[in-house]
Every structure is written in structure tokens, then in C-alpha cells.
Amino acid sequence: MRPLIYIALGWLLLAAVGGLGQTLGLTVMLPATSAALVAHVVFGRDLSLPSCLLVAVALGYLEDMHQGTPAGLLSLAHGLCCCALVWSSRRLAVEGPVARALAAGVAAALVDLVTFAILFFVRRRLGVEGEALIAGLVQARWHALATVLAAPGVFLLAELALGAGDRAFGRRPRPARRSPLQARGSGSTLEGEGQSDWT
């Protein structure tokens, strides 16, 4: 159920941010709410790896539909970004709202970077100039900054939606998996946690 809640929330946020950007005339400084949600999914350590990837790919597909990019481009970027974040979450302790917000910004930058890489790879088939892609990549810093600023709100909405989903379906919240910092503090290592999907 949680992946569906993430996807539904991502769709709503996508539509809301798009509508707000259209109304206010913003184009560049718009937060990547999908990237923020991917960061929340990964660093929340509540879903299994395939579920995380499913959420990321689905959110990327919605981004594809919304932004009019070739179908699969942002899906693949979000999927790869999710894998990278999962890999880093096993090695980095991202705790606290500020670190999570920064992680969301990194996720947005990572999505932009992967998107740039894919587009650069297929630029001839799409007929896109490399200089235009580089110029777009330079603008991605505003994208990441907006994501960092909007991430706490996105996380709050995600927590509220997940809590509401838990209450609605009578599900007991799963205890969050321990971060590497917590695992190290308790004396165990991640490598020893054979039951985890994240290993």
C-alpha cells in the first residue's frame, strides 16, 4: 500500500507544482518533488529495494508524462538515481531534517545529471544540440536548490499521507530500519543483517 501512497502523492505534487509554476510563471526554480519523494523512500528505509525502485520508476514515468519528455527517460533516470541513493544509504548516515533536505537536493541533481547523460547519449537521434543540453544542465542547480527548500514540506506531506494510510488500513507502522550510524552505535554491522533487502 505504501508504494501506492507514494505514487499518488507524487502525482498530486507533480500536478500542484506544475500548476503553481504555470500560474506564477516559474520555469527553472521549480522543486523536483518526485526526487524528494525518492529520497524520502530510500532514506526512510521503510520499503524493500524493489518497492523503492517501483516507486521511483513510477514517479519518473509520471514526470515523463507531465514534462512531455520521451517516455522512459525520466523513469530510467529516477530508477538509476534510486539505485545510487540506495547504495549511498548503506554507507552514509542521513539523519535529521536538514540532511534529508540536502539529500533530496542531491537526488534532484542526480536525476538531472542522469537525464543529461542519457540525453547526451541519444542526442543525435533526438536532434538535440549538445550545447543546449549543457546550458540546461547549468540551470539544474536552481532545480536542486528549489528541491532542498521544498523538501521539508514534501516530507511532511509524505509522513501525513503514510500515517493516514496506516490508520485507514489498520496497519501498524513498521519500525524504521536502522541507519548505518545507528547500526554502528549498537555494535552490529550492516553486513551482518542478512534479512535486510538493503544489503
Partner: protein, 292 residues
């Protein structure tokens, strides 16, 4: 068990990453040479794309309406502030218009009265229950105003100068018990002496054989050589018969003392009519010396 789980996860990851890769491959194909798989991808994606666009459009319209309402509220507040300012300006203009009208009336009266007069601005009105005094501020600072001089306004007689000091003077109103003014009934020319009794009321004692009725106008007769002849004084509101050959006539002054803005102080009597003149009324005297 852990190895099986890892293998399962690896398959799922590969599948989940392979799907978007295939989608991307399909979307990069030439539309004229789409394979069966690519056509399925397009067919599945089209309604999803329409749904996403519909949701985004609705959200956009929602935020647009919300923003529009906020802008309308701002416009409304700005217009309300402008309206308040315009109302204040209008009030000021109405005051200026009323003042202008008052000045015009005063100037017209100045042309009608032949006596030499000086304009004075009313500085204040004493609201004592026992006596009422109008304080004047003269528009000239010279010592031309002396006690006893008549003070009139366009609405009627006001009183006489009681005290004068530099450019400020106190006026004893015609309602003051000390005040006495020679008047006559405008319709019958019945003469009398107007005396103040306070509380915005005066009385005139007139011979009983001269007809006086309620509503008659009372004006100055000019026999006291203080007030110009024919200036309105008030209106008869009651007539009492008294023992003897006189009747007691109650008069309400025509001038509202609490609403005076500008008055005229009569400085000198009108010049004597020219017996050889053409019968025209004498022109207003200007610059004559004060009444001795």
C-alpha cells in the same frame, strides 16, 4: 535464503530498470516504423499522459483561481484605500465650497452696505450659560476697532464690540441682556428697542396700537447711528400683551451665532445722500475713519 532473496531482488531491479529502458527505446523510434511492442507502449502511455495532463491542468486552474482571488483582494484593498482618500478629499472640497459660498455672501453684503466696514474672522464663541460672546480676529492688525461698533453678518445683526485689544475683539451679542438695538418691524415700520434676554432670544417693546404678528421680520431702523438701516435682526415668534400701551414681542435672531465664520465690523456711518444725485444709492465707503 538470503542468497535467494538477493537473486530475486536483482531480477526485480533489472526488470524495473529494463522497463523504462524499453520505454525510452520505443519513444526514440521513428513513428512510421514502430514495432508491435512500441505501439503497445504508445497505446498504454497515451491515456496515462492524458490523465496526467488533465490533473496538471486542473491543478493549474485551481492555483490560478487562488492567485486571482489573492490579486483581487489586493486590488480591493487598494481601491478601498483610494476610496477613503477620495472621500477625504471630497469632504475637504465640500468645506472649501461652503467657505467659498460664505465668502461670496459676505462680499455681496459688503457691496450692499454703504457703511465703511472691516472684515473679521470669528475666532471662537463662548458657550457660557449666562452670557455669550463671539471672539473676533481682525484681518488687519491696526487699531480701528473700538467698543460700541456694530458687528453684522450676511445672515443678520450679530452685536456690538464689547472689548477690543490689538487684532482681537469680543462681541456682545444682541441676545446679551446689556444689548440694546434700535429696530423696526419690517412690514409696518413699527419702531422699538431690541433687548437681549439670553438663551438666543430677544424682546422688543412696541406700541400696542401698531400691529405685530408672529412671523414678522425685524430689521434695524438705523436711528441709533450704529447699525446700518435695514439689516435683518430676527423673526417674531410670540407677541405678549402687557399692561399699558405696549406689547412685548419675542424675537429669535436670524443669525446663528454658533455657525459664524466671518462678520463685518461697521467702522463709519454711511455718507449722507447727495441731494443733487440721480437718486442712486450711495456707493460703499472705503477707507473712512472709524466711527467716533
Amino acid at each position: 535464503m538470503a542468497g535467494l532473496r538477493s537473486a530475486k531482488n536483482a531480477v526485480l531491479v533489472a526488470l524495473l530498470l529494463g522497463v523504462p529502458a524499453l520505454l525510452l527505446r520505443a519513444s526514440l523510434q521513428d513513428p512510421r516504423t514502430l514495432s508491435g511492442f512500441d505501439r503497445v507502449v504508445v497505446k498504454v502511455g497515451a491515456p496515462l499522459e492524458a490523465g496526467v495532463s488533465y490533473a496538471a491542468g486542473n491543478a493549474g486552474r485551481f492555483f490560478e483561481r487562488w492567485l486571482l482571488q489573492a490579486r483581487l483582494q489586493d486590488d480591493n484593498e487598494a481601491l478601498a484605500a483610494e476610496n477613503r482618500k477620495l472621500r477625504l478629499d471630497l469632504r475637504g472640497l465640500q468645506q472649501v465650497e461652503e467657505e467659498n459660498r460664505e465668502l461670496r455672501r459676505s462680499l455681496q453684503m459688503r457691496d450692499k452696505v454703504a457703511e465703511d466696514m472691516i472684515a473679521a474672522e470669528v475666532a471662537g464663541v463662548e458657550q457660557s450659560p449666562f452670557f455669550r460672546v463671539v471672539k473676533l480676529r481682525l484681518d488687519r492688525g491696526d487699531r480701528v476697532v473700538r467698543p460700541g461698533m456694530a458687528v453684522i453678518a450676511d445672515a443678520g445683526v450679530v452685536g456690538r464690540i464689547d472689548r477690543a485689544a490689538d487684532d482681537h475683539s469680543d462681541v456682545m451679542l444682541i441676545t446679551d441682556p446689556r444689548s440694546k438695538v434700535a429696530v423696526e418691524i419690517a412690514s409696518t415700520r413699527a419702531p422699538g428697542i431690541l433687548e437681549g434676554i439670553g438663551e438666543d432670544r430677544c424682546v422688543v417693546h412696541i406700541a400696542a396700537d401698531l400691529g405685530v404678528s408672529v412671523g414678522d421680520l425685524v430689521q434695524t431702523s438705523g436711528v441709533d447711528e450704529l447699525f446700518p438701516r435695514g439689516q435683518p435682526v430676527g423673526q417674531v415668534v410670540r407677541v405678549d400683551d402687557v399692561v399699558g400701551a405696549q406689547q412685548r414681542v419675542h424675537v429669535v435672531p436670524s443669525a446663528r451665532f454658533d455657525r459664524l465664520d466671518m462678520v463685518w465690523v461697521v467702522l463709519a456711518s454711511a455718507p449722507a445722500p447727495d441731494p443733487e444725485g440721480s437718486g442712486r444709492p450711495p456707493a460703499a465707503a472705503h477707507g473712512l475713519g472709524p466711527l467716533q
